[in-house]
C-alpha cells in the first residue's frame, strides 16, 4: 500500500490550492443582469468571495482518487466488522437507482408525476411488514438509531392516548449504545438490566424491574453476542402482562430472514438497517435507512407520510397519507429513498427462497469461521452462533500478551479489515466477527490461517502493528487533548 503512493496528491485540499485555479465554469448570465445592490440589501451581501480552495478538475480528481485508495472497503477487502453486516453491494443497484425518473424526482412533485416511485415504496412497505411479521411500516427514519427513536415516540403517543403514564425503557447491558440514547431523546428514563453469565437476559432481573411504569423493553435478537435469545417468547409475555411493549433492534436481522419473524416471537416494534441487511452501501459511514415496522394497533401513531393504495376498476393509485394520530414528521421529505430503493431491488432480486438462503449462508459462514478459530480464539458464550460470534483474546493476552487490538491492527497488514473490538463489553478482549453470506469458504480459510499466523508472531512486533498501512497507531489522546478539527492557514 505504501508502494507507488502519490503523497503529493494526498496533501490537504487546502494545501493543494493555487490562486487563480478553477474547475467549474458556468454559462454567462443569459438574462439581463442587474447590479446585485439593486436586488439585495447591500448590508446583507458578503464583503468578499467565499473562502474556499482553488483547484482544477484534474487536481480534484487526483486528490480524492488517491485519498480513496487509503481506505479498505467491501469491494476491495474482506470486512468482517461485527454488527455492521458488511456484505457485498450489488452493482446493478447503482445503475438502476440512477435511472432518470428515479434519481431526479423532486419530493414536491405532484402525486401524478410520482406514481411509479410511490408504487415501489408501497411494495417495500408491504415486503418489510411481511419479513417482520409486523404489518404497519414507516419508511421515514434515516438510520437505525433514528428508527429506534421514532418507534419509541410512537409508543409514547400510544400510551399517552390510553392515558397511561409509562416512563421507563429497559434494555440489557449488552445493548447498542443507541438504544439508551434514543430512549433518552424520546423522553424516557433508562433502566439497564444486568445480564446472565451465559449472555442471555436474566428473567428474574427483568421481572424485578417490570411494573406499570414500564413502557418498552428494547432487545436485539439475535443479541449482540450473536445468540438467539432463547427466552424471547417468555420475555415478550412478561412485558405484555404488565402492559408494556417489546422493541426489536433489527441490527442482526441478517440471521433470521424467513426463519423467524420479530412479530412472531413477540416483538411489537422493530427497525431495519437497510444499509446492513438489504445492501444499501455503507458509504464511509452513512447514509443508512432505518424503516420501522409495528403492530396494527400502533399504526395510527406512525410518522407521516406513508404510502397508501386505492384501487378502482383494476387501476391502482398511490398517495401519501399521514396517519390519523401521527406523532408528526421525524425529518423533512419522505425518507432516504435512494437507500430504500436499493433495499427494494435486493428483495426483488432474491425473493423468499433467496432471502432465506441469505440467512442460512450467513449463519453457516459464521459458524464455520467460529469452528476454525475456536481453539485459538475461544468464544465464551454459546455452543454455536447465529450470523456472528464474539471471540475473546483473553487467552492470548494472558499467555503471550497479545490483545484483541493487536490482532485487529495486524490483520490490516494482511489485507483484512478488523473485526469490531471491545464490544460488547461483557466479553473481555472481545473480537466481534461477522463474515456475512457473501464470503467464500476460501476467504474464511485464509482469514483463519492469518489469525493463527498472527498469534505466532512476536508480541512486541504486534504491539506496534500495523506496519504496512499508510499510518500506524494514531495518537488518539493527542487528538482529543489538542483538538484540531479543521485546517487553518
Amino acid at each position: 500500500m505504501t508502494f507507488m503512493r502519490n503523497r503529493q496528491a494526498t496533501n490537504l485540499v487546502f494545501e493543494l490550492s493555487q490562486p487563480g485555479r478553477r474547475a467549474a465554469a458556468y454559462p454567462a448570465c443569459d438574462v439581463p443582469a442587474r447590479p446585485l445592490s439593486e436586488l439585495l440589501p447591500s448590508n446583507q451581501l458578503a464583503p468578499q468571495l467565499p473562502d474556499l480552495p482553488e483547484l482544477t478538475e484534474p487536481d480534484v480528481i487526483r486528490h480524492f482518487t488517491n485519498l480513496s485508495t487509503l481506505n479498505m472497503s467491501v469491494d476491495t477487502h474482506f470486512y468482517p466488522l461485527g454488527s455492521c453486516t458488511m456484505k457485498y453491494n450489488p452493482k446493478r443497484h447503482e445503475r438502476l437507482a440512477s435511472l432518470p425518473g428515479l434519481v431526479d424526482l423532486h419530493p414536491y412533485q405532484t402525486e401524478d408525476a410520482q406514481q411509479g416511485m410511490l408504487s415501489i415504496l408501497f411494495e417495500l412497505q408491504q415486503m418489510l411488514g411481511e419479513i417482520a411479521g409486523l404489518p404497519a411500516v414507516s419508511l421515514q427514519p434515516a438510520a437505525g438509531a433514528h428508527g429506534e427513536m421514532t418507534a419509541l415516540l410512537t409508543a409514547a403517543a400510544y400510551f399517552h392516548d390510553r392515558g397511561e403514564k409509562r416512563t421507563k425503557v429497559l434494555f440489557p447491558q449488552s445493548a447498542h449504545g443507541t438504544n439508551p440514547a434514543s430512549a433518552a431523546i424520546a423522553g424516557f428514563d433508562c433502566v439497564q438490566l444486568k445480564g446472565q453469565a451465559d449472555g442471555f437476559v436474566d428473567l428474574a432481573e427483568l421481572k424485578a424491574h417490570l411494573d406499570d411504569k414500564t413502557a418498552v423493553f428494547m432487545i436485539t435478537n439475535p443479541n449482540t453476542l450473536g445468540l438467539f435469545e432463547r427466552d424471547i417468547a417468555k420475555i415478550s409475555h412478561l412485558l405484555h402482562d404488565v402492559g408494556g411493549l417489546v422493541y426489536i433492534d433489527g441490527a442482526n436481522m441478517n440471521a433470521i430472514l424467513g426463519i423467524t419473524r420479530p412479530g412472531d416471537f413477540g416483538g411489537d416494534m422493530m427497525h431495519y438497517n437497510v444499509h446492513k441487511t438489504f445492501t444499501g452501501p455503507h458509504g464511509s459511514g452513512g447514509p443508512g435507512a432505518g424503516p420501522i415496522a409495528v403492530r396494527d394497533f400502533l399504526a395510527d401513531y406512525l410518522p407521516g407520510p406513508i404510502v397508501t393504495r386505492t384501487s378502482s376498476e383494476g387501476t391502482d393509485r398511490f398517495q401519501l397519507t399521514t396517519p390519523t394520530k401521527s406523532i408528526g414528521r421525524v425529518r423533512s421529505h419522505f425518507g432516504n429513498v435512494g437507500i430504500l430503493l436499493r433495499g427494494y431491488l435486493y428483495l426483488r432480486t432474491l425473493g423468499a427462497a433467496g432471502l432465506k438462503a441469505v440467512s442460512e449462508q450467513a449463519v453457516l459462514n459464521a459458524n464455520y469461521l467460529r469452528a476454525k478459530l475456536e481453539d485459538v480464539l475461544p468464544v465464551p458464550h454459546g455452543e454455536r452462533c447465529m450470523h456472528e460470534f464474539v471471540a475473546s483474546a483473553q487467552k492470548s493476552k494472558t499467555e503471550k500478551g497479545i490483545t484483541a487490538l493487536d490482532i485487529a491492527k495486524r490483520l490490516l497488514d494482511y489485507g483484512y479489515y478488523a473485526p469490531t473490538v471491545y464490544f460488547p463489553l461483557v466479553v473481555p478482549e472481545a473480537l466481534m466477527i461477522e463474515p456475512t453470506e457473501t464470503e467464500s469458504q476460501q476467504t474464511l480459510d485464509a482469514f483463519a490461517d492469518t489469525i493463527r499466523t498472527i498469534l505466532n508472531e512476536p508480541p512486541e512486533f504486534l504491539h506496534s502493528a500495523p506496519h504496512a498501512t499508510p499510518v500506524s497507531r494514531p495518537d488518539e489522546v493527542k487528538a482529543g487533548r489538542q483538538l484540531v478539527l479543521r485546517w487553518k492557514r
Binding site: F228, S284, D475
Partner: protein, 459 residues
C-alpha cells in the same frame, strides 16, 4: 442464487467442520414454535435483465427533473452536479467502506471528512463543524436540543413562521414530550418584523431560529434578531442555504451561535427526498455539546500527520443515555459529495452560481408577473426563490400550466403560518430558479402562463 458463493460441496464440507449434519441444525437455538412454517410472501425473484426492465417501466411512470423544466424548490433544488462528483462518490473505496473505526485503514474517509469540516467552517465562518447529520430538519432539531443543554433552559423555543414547515413539524415531534413552549412568530408579509421577535425573547428562551433566506425565498433580518437573543442569553440558530453564501454574508457574520443547513444543494441528487446531508456548525465554546461524529488531526507513532474519530465521549457508544445525541453514523457518502463539490467550485464558482440563481430568479419574477395575472405575494428582497399569488386556486392553476413546466409546490400543501397567509395559502405558489434554468425556459413558462390566464379570463 444471487450473491452467494458456496457450492453444495463446499457447504457440506463446512457443515462437517462445524460438526452438524445440516443447515437446519444450525438454527437449533431458534425455538421451533417460533419458526416461520411457510415461505415469506414476497414477489418472485428477478434476474438482472428482468429487474432492469421492471425498474425502467416503473421509472417511466414518473416524471423526473431531467424530463421536464423544473421550478420546484422548497429546500431541495436541482442545482447542476458536475460529473466529477459522481466519479469520486462512485469509488468503491468510499462507497463500500464504513465508519472509520480503524483509522489506519480509513485515512481516505477520515481526511475527506476533515476537509469537509474545514470547508463548512470556511463557508459559514463558524469555528467548528461536525462530520454531518441526517438532513436539514433533524440538524435544526439537534441545534435546538444542543441550545437547551448549553443554556440549561427548556422553557421556550422561538421559531419564525417562515422556517420550512417540515422542519417546524419535525421540531414539534421531537419536543412533544417536553414542556417546552414552541412560539411560532407569524410572518404574514413574508418575513418577520425583528421587533416582533425580540419582544418574545426572555430568560426562559433556549433558542431563536431564523431561516435566511427563508422558506419563501425572502431575506430575513437575522442580525437584529440574533443580537436580541444574545442579550437574553438565548442561542441563535441560523438555517442557511449553502449556495446563497456565494453572495450573502455568512451565518457567523450575522451572529449565529449554531448554523445548520440542508446540504442537498452541494452535489447531491434529488432522489425523492433523501438521502441528503445535515450540515451542523457552531461556535468553539459549544464544541463539547455538539452531536455527531467529529474528525480530528493527530500524528501516528512515527509522527506522520493523520486523522481519527475524536471526542467520542460525547457519543452514544460511550455515554449511552447521557450522549449529546442518539446519532451513530454521519452521512458519509454525502459529505464526500459536498467536499468534492465545494472543491470543484472554489470561491468564484460558488459566487457565479449564486449570482446566476439570483439574477435568473429576479428575471423570472419579473416575467411571471408581467401581464400574467400573477403577483408577487411578498414585497421583500429574495435570493433564488419567490412566492406568487395566483388569481384562483394555486393547485388548479399549476395543473393547467404543467404541460410547459412545473412551477413549484403549492403552499397550501404545507402547514402554513397563522394569520393572513393561512387564509390565502391556497392561492400561493413557490417558484425556485437555479443556475440550470435558461432565459428561454423562463420566457416559455411566462408565455404559457399568459395564454392560460387570458384564456381563463375569456372563459
Amino acid at each position: 442464487m444471487a450473491y452467494l458463493f458456496n457450492t453444495p460441496e463446499s457447504q457440506a464440507d463446512m457443515l462437517q467442520t462445524v460438526g452438524v449434519g445440516s443447515i437446519e441444525e444450525l438454527f437449533d437455538q431458534v425455538p421451533r414454535e417460533l419458526r416461520l412454517d411457510r415461505p415469506l410472501q414476497l414477489p418472485p425473484p428477478l434476474s438482472e435483465i428482468e429487474l432492469e426492465s421492471h425498474l425502467r417501466d416503473i421509472a417511466r411512470q414518473n416524471v423526473g427533473a431531467s424530463g421536464q423544466v423544473s421550478f420546484l424548490g422548497g429546500g431541495i433544488y436541482d442545482h447542476f452536479i458536475p460529473a466529477a462528483v459522481d466519479a469520486i462518490a462512485g469509488r468503491s473505496e468510499f462507497y463500500t467502506s464504513y465508519t472509520p473505526y480503524q483509522a489506519e485503514a480509513s485515512q481516505g474517509s477520515l481526511q475527506t471528512f476533515f476537509e469537509y469540516q474545514t470547508l463548512i467552517c470556511q463557508l459559514t465562518g463558524m469555528d467548528v463543524s461536525n462530520a454531518s447529520l441526517y438532513e436539514g430538519a433533524t440538524a435544526m432539531v439537534e441545534a435546538v436540543l444542543m441550545a437547551m443543554r448549553v443554556t440549561g433552559r427548556r422553557g421556550k423555543v422561538i421559531v419564525l413562521g417562515s422556517v420550512h414547515p417540515e422542519y417546524r413539524n419535525t421540531l414539534t415531534t421531537y419536543l412533544r414530550h417536553f414542556d417546552t413552549e414552541i412560539v411560532t412568530v407569524p410572518t404574514p408579509h413574508g418575513t418577520a418584523d425583528p421587533g416582533d421577535v425580540t419582544s418574545l425573547i426572555d430568560d426562559r428562551t433556549a433558542a431563536v431560529i431564523v431561516q435566511h433566506p427563508n422558506f419563501f425565498g425572502c431575506l430575513e433580518s437575522p442580525r437584529e434578531i440574533f443580537a436580541a437573543a444574545k442579550q437574553q442569553g438565548a442561542l441563535s440558530i441560523s438555517v442557511f442555504d449553502p449556495i446563497s453564501l456565494g453572495i450573502l454574508e455568512r451565518p457567523a457574520d450575522h451572529g449565529a451561535d449554531i448554523a445548520v443547513a440542508e446540504g442537498q444543494s452541494l452535489g447531491i441528487p434529488l432522489q425523492y427526498g433523501g438521502p441528503y446531508l445535515g450540515i451542523f456548525a457552531c461556535r468553539q465554546e459549544y464544541l463539547r455539546q455538539m452531536p455527531g461524529r467529529l474528525i480530528g488531526e493527530t500524528v501516528d507513532r512515527e509522527g506522520r500527520r493523520c486523522f481519527v474519530l475524536t471526542l467520542g465521549t460525547r457519543e452514544q457508544h460511550i455515554r449511552r443515555d447521557k450522549a449529546t445525541s442518539n446519532i451513530c453514523t454521519n452521512q458519509g457518502l454525502l459529505a464526500v459529495r459536498a467536499t468534492v463539490y465545494l472543491s470543484l467550485l472554489g470561491p468564484r464558482g460558488l459566487r457565479e452560481i449564486a449570482e446566476l440563481c439570483c439574477q435568473k430568479a429576479h428575471y423570472a419574477a419579473e416575467q411571471l408577473t408581467a401581464n400574467t395575472g400573477l403577483k408577487l405575494a411578498f414585497d421583500r428582497p429574495f435570493f433564488k426563490e419567490f412566492v406568487l399569488r395566483c388569481p384562483d386556486d394555486a393547485a388548479n392553476f399549476a395543473h393547467r400550466v404543467r404541460s410547459a413546466g412545473d412551477i413549484g409546490p403549492v403552499l397550501s400543501r404545507f402547514s402554513t403560518p397563522t394569520g393572513e397567509l393561512a387564509a390565502s395559502a391556497k392561492s400561493l405558489l413557490l417558484v425556485a430558479v437555479t443556475e440550470s434554468r435558461t432565459k428561454s425556459q423562463i420566457d416559455c413558462l411566462a408565455k404559457t402562463i399568459r395564454s392560460e390566464c387570458s384564456s381563463a379570463t375569456k372563459k
